[in-house]
Amino acid sequence: MRGEILFKNNSLTSQSQHFKKLILSLFLLLAIANLSCKEAGKKDVLILSLRADPVYLNPVLAHESPSMMVNHWLFNSLVKLNENLQPVPDLADRWEISEDQKHWIFYLKKNIIWHDGYPFTAEDVKFTLAAVLDPETNTYNRGLFMVADKPVKVSIIDDYTIEIILPEPFAPLLTNLSLLGIIPKHILEGQDINLSNFNSSPVGTGPFKFKEWRSGEIITLLRNENYYKGKPDMEKVVFRIIPSGEGRLIALETGQIDVGEIPAKEYKRLSNFQNLFIYRWYDLSYYYLGFDLTNPLFTDKELRKALNYGINRQKIIDSVLSGYGKVATGPIPCSSWAYSTDVKQYEYNPEKAKIILNKQGWLPDANGILSKNGKVLSFTIYYGQGSENSGKASIYIQHFLKEVGVDVKIRPVEFSVLVTEIANPGKFEAILLDWIENPDPDCYVEWGTDQVKNGMNFMSYANPHVDQLLNQARTTLDIKKRKILYKNFQKIITEEAPYIFLWYPETMIGVNRRIEGISKPGPAGLFLEPEKIRVVKK
C-alpha cells in the first residue's frame, strides 16, 4: 500500500519505473517466501532422487534400479540381506532346511498387516512366487526361482508356515528370495498383474506407505504407523525424478535432495562441502573387455594373454575414473565374499606382450602393426553409446594396444541395439561391458557352456571343468566349501584370460549431514533399516 501511495504522489514516476519497482518487489517477495518455505518445509522428510520414473512399483515385475529403490521402502521379503550381504530374517522369522537340502520350511512372522489393514499370511507368499513363475507374467525375475531349469514348488503348511521345494539343492535361494518383495494376494488375485493399477499405486507391508506418484516428477511415501518393527522415525520419504546427472548433482549441492550419487570427477570438489558426507564402497560389478571366443583370432590363449599384458589398467582408472576404482583381477567383484586374489594377474608389460605375440608368429610391418600370413592383427571394440567411461576406456585400450602393434577400431552402438543385435547373437569381435552381479557369487549364467545359447555367455566361453565347479558351487550350501570352489574357478578363468578384466568401479554417494541412521556403507545400500533413518535439526 505504501508503495502505491508513493507512486500516486510522484507525478514524475514513469511507467517503466513502476515496472522496475514491480519486478524488485516481486524478487523481494520471492526471497522472503523462499526463506520461510525453507524453514517450513522438509522437517521430517527424506528426499531421495531417481534417474527415471520407476517402471513398476511391484517387486514381482520390477527389474531396474529406480523401481527397486522405491520398492525397498514399500515391501518386505521373506529374508533380507545385512551389511555383509548375509541373509537375515524379515517376513520369515526363521527357516529350516531338510537333510537333502531340497525342502526349505519358512516360519513367518505373525501379526504383520498390509498397508490396507489386511493380515499377511502364507497365502501371500505362495501367490507372489506363483506370480513370478507364471510364464504370462512379464517379469525378468523368473530366472531367480528356476532351479535346474525347473520352477521351484511352493506349498502352504499352515497360515504362517510355508515350504519351498527345490528340484536340487540351490545355494543362492535365500539371496534370491531377498530380492523378491511379497505382494498382497487379496488385491491382485484375479487381476492381470502386467496391467494392474497396483503397479502404480502399490500396497505393501514395508515401513512406508504409498501416497502419490506424479509421473516424471515425484513419488511420495508416508510412514506406516503399524510397521512390524515399530513406527518409523521419519514422516515422509520423497523421491524426486531428475533425469540428468548434472541436475541431480546440483540438487544435492543445493539441498533440494538429501542423497545422490557423485561422479568420480566431482569427488574432490564435493568432499569439501560442509553439509555433505560422502560414503564410498565397491559395488558388486566389474568392467571387462570380452572376446568372441569362437573367432579364430581369439581362440589363441597366448594372444589373449598378450593383450592382457598390453593394457595399462591403472592408467585407465587414473584418468577415466579419476583414480576412484581398482584394477579388476577376475570374474568376481572385490566386495563379494567369494572374491579371491590368489589368481593369475597380468601387470602392464608391453615388452612381454610383444614377445608373446612374436612367438605366436605375429610380426611387425613397416608401420609397426603386427600381421601373420598376410593377415593384420586387428579387431573392433563395441560398447554401449552413452556409457562415457566405456567410451574413454576404449580409446585408452586402442592407444595401449597400438603401442604393441595391434590395430583396434572402436564402435559405439545404442544400448538396446548392442544387446539385441550385437551381444546376444555374438556378432562382435570384442565388447566392452560391465556385469552387475547378484549378492550371491553364483555366476553360472555368464560362464556355463549351455549358457551360450540360453544365458549371458555372449563370449561363448566353454570349459567343462568350470561348468562342473560352478554347478557344484551353486548346489553346495556350506559357505566355506563354496569359497574354495569359487577360488579355483577364479584361478582357471584368469589363467585362460577369456576377458580382459578392467576395473572394479567405486560407488560414491553423497548424503546431507542432516540425515542420520544410515547403515554401514556397502553394496547392500545405505538404508538397510529404513525405519531408523531420521532427520536431525542443525
Binding site: 520471492l30 526471497a31 518455505c37 517450513a40 518445509g41 522438509k42 522437517k43 522428510v45 527415471a52 520414473d53 517402471v55 513398476y56 515385475l61 531396474e64 510364464p135 504370462e136 512379464n138 517379469t139 525378468y140 525375475n141 523368473r142 530366472g143 502386467n194 496391467l195 503397479n199 509421473s215 516424471g216 516428477e217 515425484i218 515422509k236 520423497v238 524426486r240 525424478i241 531428475i242 533425469p243 540428468s244 548434472e246 541436475g247 546440483i250 540438487a251 549441492e253 543445493t254 533440494q256 535432495i257 545404442e414 544400448f415 538396446s416 541395439v417 544387446v419 539385441t420 551381444a423 556385469w435 552387475i436 552381479e437 547378484n438 549364467v445 555368464e446 540360453n454 544365458g455 549371458m456
Partner: protein, 321 residues
C-alpha cells in the same frame, strides 16, 4: 468457408492413416525392442523371448499393425505401454498439462513481445535501439538452451538460492492452494525464461525482416502520400501484410505446444511430453511412441488448418476455393 473446412477435415483421415502406417513401420523396423532395455546377469534371453511373445511382438508386422489400428479405430483404445503396462492415453494425459502450461505461456509471451520489438526494430532501422535488439536476438539465437538453462540454475539456484531447479512442485509444500500456486510459479520461471528468450530472439528477427520488406513496398509510399497518419500506415497497411509469413511461422510452432521441449525439460526435470516421447524412443515403447506420434500429427494437421484460415482473414487476396 465451412465447406472448405469440412473438405480439409475429410482429408485428415487418409492422412492420419498414412502417417500411422509409415511411423509404425519405421519404429518397428529400427533395431532393438522393448525387452532390451536392461542387460544384467538376471536378464535371460529366454525371459526376453517369453515377454516379447506375451506382448505380441512375435506376430508378423502387418498383423501387429492391424491389431493396433483395430483397437484405436473401433475401441478408441491406444493400448498399454509395453514397458510399464500403463494405458497410453493416461501416460500422455499425465504429462500434457505441464507441457501445455510451460509451452503455452512461453510461446504466447514470446509472440506478444516479438511483435512490438520487431516492429520497433524495423521502423527504427539502424537506430541504437535496433542495434541493441539485434545483438540481443543474435545472442538468443546462438545460445543453446541447455547452456542458458544451466547458467540460470548456476545463478538463481546455486549462487542466489532464489529459485528451485527441479520439477513443478516442492516436496512437502502442504495443502494451502496459494502457496502451491506460488511454488509452481517459482518452478516455472527459469524454464519459461529459457523458452521465451530463445523463441523471442528468432521471432523478433522474423517480424523485423518481414516488416522491413513491407515498409519498402509501393503501397506504403502511396498510403503515406495520401496523407495517412504514420500509425495507420504502420498498423493497418504494413503490419497486416507483414503478418502473413509470421502466421506460417507461428502455425509451424503450434505442435511444439504439445510436443514439449525435450532439452529444457531435461535441464529443469520438467515432467513434460518431450521427456515422455524421448523415453519411449530409448525404451522402444512402441505403443506410447505411436500414441505421441498420432497425437502430434493431429495437432499438426489442425494447426495447419487454423493457419490457412488465418491467411484468409489477414490476406484478402487468398480465397477458399
Amino acid at each position: 468457408m465451412y465447406k472448405y473446412i469440412l473438405k480439409r477435415l475429410a482429408i485428415t483421415i487418409p492422412t492420419l492413416f498414412a502417417i500411422s502406417l509409415i511411423s509404425f513401420l519405421i519404429i518397428h523396423l529400427s533395431p532393438g525392442d522393448p525387452t532390451a532395455m536392461m542387460i544384467d546377469p538376471k536378464t535371460r534371453p529366454e525371459d526376453r523371448e517369453r515377454i516379447k511373445k506375451n506382448l505380441g511382438l512375435d506376430k508378423p508386422l502387418p498383423q501387429q499393425y492391424f491389431i493396433w489400428l483395430n483397437n484405436l479405430v473401433f475401441h478408441r483404445d491406444m493400448g498399454y505401454s509395453l514397458v510399464n503396462g500403463k494405458p497410453v492415453l493416461k501416460s500422455i494425459m499425465e504429462r500434457l498439462p505441464n507441457t501445455l502450461i510451460l509451452m503455452g505461456l512461453s510461446y504466447l509471451t514470446a509472440i506478444l513481445l516479438a511483435l512490438p520489438l520487431g516492429i520497433y526494430s524495423a521502423v527504427k532501422q539502424y537506430s541504437p535501439g535496433d542495434y541493441i535488439l539485434t545483438v540481443l536476438s543474435f545472442t538468443g539465437i546462438s545460445i543453446p538452451s541447455f547452456w542458458l538453462g544451466l547458467m540460470l540454475i548456476c545463478l538463481f539456484t546455486v549462487k542466489l538460492q532464489l529459485l528451485p531447479s527441479i520439477g513443478t512442485i516442492s516436496p512437502d509444500i502442504g495443502d494451502n492452494i496459494i502457496i502451491q500456486i506460488y511454488d509452481f510459479i517459482k518452478h516455472l520461471i527459469m524454464p519459461f525464461f529459457v523458452l521465451v528468450f530463445t523463441n523471442l530472439a528468432a521471432w523478433s528477427r522474423y517480424v523485423r525482416s518481414s516488416m522491413l520488406e513491407v515498409l519498402k513496398a509501393d503501397y506504403i509510399r502511396t498510403a503515406r502520400a495520401k496523407g495517412q497518419s504514420e500509425l495507420k500506415v504502420l498498423y493497418k497497411h504494413a503490419l497486416r501484410n507483414a503478418m502473413i509469413p509470421l502466421i506460417t511461422l507461428i502455425g509451424l510452432s503450434l505442435p511444439d505446444l504439445l510436443a514439449g521441449a525435450f532439452v529444457t525439460e531435461m535441464i529443469f526435470s520438467w515432467p513434460g511430453m518431450g521427456r515422455l516421447g524421448m523415453d519411449a524412443i530409448f525404451h522402444r515403447d512402441y505403443t506410447v511412441l505411436m500414441g505421441t506420434i498420432m497425437f502430434s500429427s493431429i495437432v499438426i494437421i489442425v494447426s495447419n488448418l487454423i493457419t490457412d484460415i488465418f491467411y484468409v482473414i489477414t490476406d484478402p487476396r487468398i480465397r477458399f476455393d
